[in-house]
């Protein structure tokens, strides 16, 4: 994968090609070994994947362009897994790429493609708004303070300081998080993932025995779900789509949350990580805060969460995020995550849940379980 950051000097072609060539070299493969290609992106436009691979000469095989909001990359991996299981191909490449700096920074724009999104966007709905509402309700119902939310940012930015691929590598204190500019109360700037970020990530998926001599990382489960219509007055602290997707993944793999050694989850905003602790079964309902306070999700804890720094430190180039999570977990399971290695990790989980707008309980969620 490429490092994540502001890369105005590079084109999306540069980013995607760097990631794909890096993944092929890492696997000891040639471009001619690739039988199908999966491109994940949100804002790049029509037939982007073909444009990105054209000059590399990876042309001819089936190429699938995949968009599913923040879960685009994970969805692309899911589709590739299906094709491999069907025996359509034995070696494919999946990449995600995004160049958000081209959008000018600030809040990621909503797609005003239906009457409800149009109305709510005109009222001020943004992605930070959705999560801030959850944050307010969480603090109210659980009698917590803003310190709890800020602690997530402190943990993940500490992890990110150890990751050369992360956009923001400066550790921060609780006071710095709380005193950073308010964005959408209770969320401050350092509790929101950087939105002016570019990057790409790629993985090779194969049903062949790898020739590299390294431990093969296996995909034990791959689940994608879509959100239900938001109707009535439901509980916004219930991350239902994520819990549903995680249950499917655990069933597929035949394991339980207790078997997971390391997690990369979708911490676009601090409150999200707290909610996902419970949705993923890492903590019992109502005890996500305890998991954090006990240090169990920090490096050195029982189940480190976001050792890469997560979206909060690494940045969130939407189309690339889900694939980048896979790369991090693969490196963790292979023992290659220098400086931030979770010792002895054998099973890792990735989770992306995106599109939390416009009348569905998030548009898409994906959970993968990887193991060695």
């Amino acid at each position: 994968m490429t490092s994540f950051g502001r890369r105005p000097d590079l084109s999306m072609q540069d980013l995607a090609q760097e990631a794909v060539l890096g993944a092929l070299a890492d696997a000891g493969l040639q471009t001619s070994d690739v039988q199908a290609l999966y491109n994940s992106n949100v804002y790049g436009g029509m037939v982007l994947g073909q444009v990105l691979m054209r000059d590399l000469g990876i042309t001819g095989p089936a190429l699938y362009n995949v968009e599913n909001a923040c879960a685009s990359g994970a969805t692309a991996v899911h589709l590739a897994c299906q094709a491999l299981r069907l025996g359509l191909y034995d070696t494919v490449v999946v990449w995600g790429v995004e160049q958000l700096t081209r959008l000018g920074g600030g809040t990621i724009p909503l797609q005003r493609n239906d009457y409800k999104t149009e109305l709510y966007a005109s009222q001020g709905m943004t992605l930070p708004t959705v999560y801030a509402m959850r944050g307010t309700r969480y603090l109210h119902e659980r009698s917590e303070s803003v310190d709890l939310l800020a602690s997530i940012a402190v943990k993940n930015r500490q992890h990110g300081s150890l990751n050369p691929y992360a956009q923001q590598r400066k550790p921060v204190t609780l006071e710095e998080v709380l005193q950073s500019r308010p964005v959408a109360e209770p969320l401050t700037l350092l509790q929101c993932c950087p939105s002016a970020v570019d990057g790409a990530a790629a993985v090779i998926l194969t049903t062949k025995i790898p020739s590299s001599g390294r431990r093969a990382v296996r995909i034990l489960a791959s689940a994608v779900q879509s959100g239900h219509l938001e109707i009535g007055c439901d509980d916004i602290l219930d991350a239902e789509i994520t819990a549903r997707t995680a249950r499917l993944a655990y069933e597929q793999a035949g394991i339980s949350p207790k078997d997971v050694d390391v997690v990369e989850l979708h911490d676009a905003f601090t409150i999200a990580e707290l909610l996902y602790y419970e949705a993923l079964g890492l903590a019992p309902d109502g005890d996500g805060a305890g998991l954090l306070r006990d240090g169990e999700t920090a490096l050195g804890g029982r189940v480190p969460v976001n050792p890469s720094g997560g979206l909060l430190a690494k940045g969130h180039p939407l189309g690339a995020t889900g694939v980048a999570q896979m790369v991090e977990i693969a490196w963790q399971l292979e023992g290659r995550a220098e400086g931030r290695q979770v010792e002895g990790a054998r099973i890792g989980l990735t989770q992306c849940t995106g599109g939390g707008i416009a009348g569905v309980d998030h548009a898409a969620s994906s959970v993968h379980l990887l193991g060695v």
Partner: protein, 126 residues
């Protein structure tokens, strides 16, 4: 919640209105805005009119980038007794901060556009 209440919103001054929504026939649950009548989905819903008042379920104070020069403003989820949740802007008097459980009323924003805002119900506990 640390926003300066004096910087939030405008004084209440607008005409009360009621909002149109839809109730799903199969579940009895409501959804806002109303499902368009021309939609193929419409037969699964019936039109309803929401009560004039609602309860504040959650909120955030948005702080626009200082470079924009825009003042902070309050956004809320308001729950109606018809089992419908509505998102919108809340205007508060300068000395009052938003709080979960507040009683809100729906008022007209732009009559031509049919848009709405929320205000605090006069005399409601703060």
């Amino acid at each position: 919640m640390s926003a300066d209440p004096a910087a939030l919103g405008r004084a209440p001054s607008r005409a009360a209105i009621t909002l149109k929504a839809s109730r799903q026939r199969s579940t009895g649950l409501g959804v806002f805005p109303a499902i368009p009548r021309h939609s193929p989905s419409a037969p699964g819903f019936e039109d309803i009119t929401l009560s004039p008042e609602a309860e504040l379920y959650s909120f955030t104070v948005i702080h626009p980038n200082p470079r924009s020069g825009e003042a902070p403003f309050v956004l809320v989820y308001a729950d109606f007794v018809e089992n419908v949740r509505v998102f919108g802007v809340l205007d508060l008097p300068g000395d009052i901060a938003p709080r979960i459980g507040m009683r809100l009323r729906t008022v007209a924003d732009d009559a031509e556009a049919g848009t709405y805002r929320f205000e605090l119900v006069e005399g409601a506990s703060t």
